[in-house]
Amino acid sequence: MDEEPERPERIDPFLTESDLPFDKEAMAVQLGKDPGFIRELVDLLCQDTADMLDQIEEAFREGDIERVHRAGHRLKGSVSHFAATRATDLAWQLEVLQVCEAGESSTVSDLREEMKTLTSSLYRFLDERDAEAQQEGSL
């Protein structure tokens, strides 16, 4: 059985709707509205992201630009399903990066941070949906 993915820390509870790192409506069009299913996808995203980011950092150290491109491309595909514009854009920047220079690796750390924000935000959103469903069920 797969290990339970590591849950990122909770995001700032005062984050406003417009600051959310994903578009709820667009995500619903792409993934549907079943919180249980979306949670499965977020779990997969967490597992895959950790591996991809490690691969990208390793590829940076080795100067393997092709590997950075491929991992960036794959991450872009994953996060785009959640209508996560900032994360998608950061992954795209890695996909089209010209050189593996130290200065460019800031994009990787930016993406790592953005992924933490995104996944914790998604989990919080799903927790809220679950809580609402429970409340409706108890009425």
Binding site: V29, Q30, G32, G77, S80, H81
Partner: protein
């Protein structure tokens, strides 16, 4: 219907699998292009395939190119899936042999609609193949019946003549009677062949099927 998915990204793969299941299909999933090729090159591969453009092993466009060279390649409906999205990519994908092209992220309804196009295409193709098979079988059976009929008439007439001559003298020759009866049986089969209207088969030996003239003709089979 079985549908092949070749996708290295776990999120996209899970999403496709779930959607296919929801729409009543069975997903056959691969994580890389080499695994996908192992399926595609089999004659009984799923006829609709959703192939990621960039994945480990053989990439989507190359899979399309190779698949089209297979004997059953024209029977496949191939959808390329990618996060690439400019016009040059689209042209390159279609020129490689893809039938359609879906960019990530895709909406569920768009994917469903595009798969619907593929399924309609495959259904139409199946009908055309069946119509062509019917046409060939009916024409071949009609031609064979026509060609056999003439020498058969000569054979039966000659057998009757020999028997009539034999009756003038001694007992009827059992070998000639047997020959005549066999020729009569051939005449019945030939008549059935001449009336074949649809393609139908029946098991023969060692897993081989043969055309069943009795089922395909508009007359019941004679024993």
């Amino acid at each position: 219907m079985k549908i092949l998915i070749a996708e290295d990204d776990a999120v996209s793969r899970k999403l496709l699998e779930s959607n296919l299941h929801r729409w009543g299909h069975e997903a056959v999933s691969c994580k890389d292009g080499d695994q996908a090729w192992a399926y595609l090159e089999q004659p009984d591969t799923p006829r609709l395939a959703i192939l990621d453009w960039m994945m480990p092993g053989i990439e989507g466009p190359e899979l399309c190119r190779r698949a089209r060279e297979l004997r059953h390649g024209s029977l496949l409906y191939l959808i390329l899936l990618t996060a690439k999205g400019d016009e040059a990519d689209l042209v390159q994908g279609l020129q490689a042999g893809a039938d359609d092209y879906v960019t990530k992220p895709f909406s569920r309804e768009e994917m469903r609609a595009r798969m619907g196009v593929g399924l309609r295409f495959l259904e139409l193709q199946e009908r055309l193949i069946e119509a062509e098979r019917n046409r060939v079988v009916v024409q071949a059976a009609g031609a064979a019946a026509h060609e056999i009929n003439q020498p058969l008439t000569v054979l039966m007439g000659t057998a009757q003549l020999l028997q009539m001559r034999a009756e003038k003298g001694a007992e009827p020759n059992p070998a000639i009677t047997e020959m005549y009866n066999a020729a009569e049986r051939i005449r019945e089969i030939v008549q059935q062949m001449g009336k074949v209207r649809t393609y139908a088969t029946r098991p023969y030996i060692e897993g081989i099927d043969i055309v069943d003239f009795g089922v395909g003709s508009d007359e019941p089979e004679t024993e």
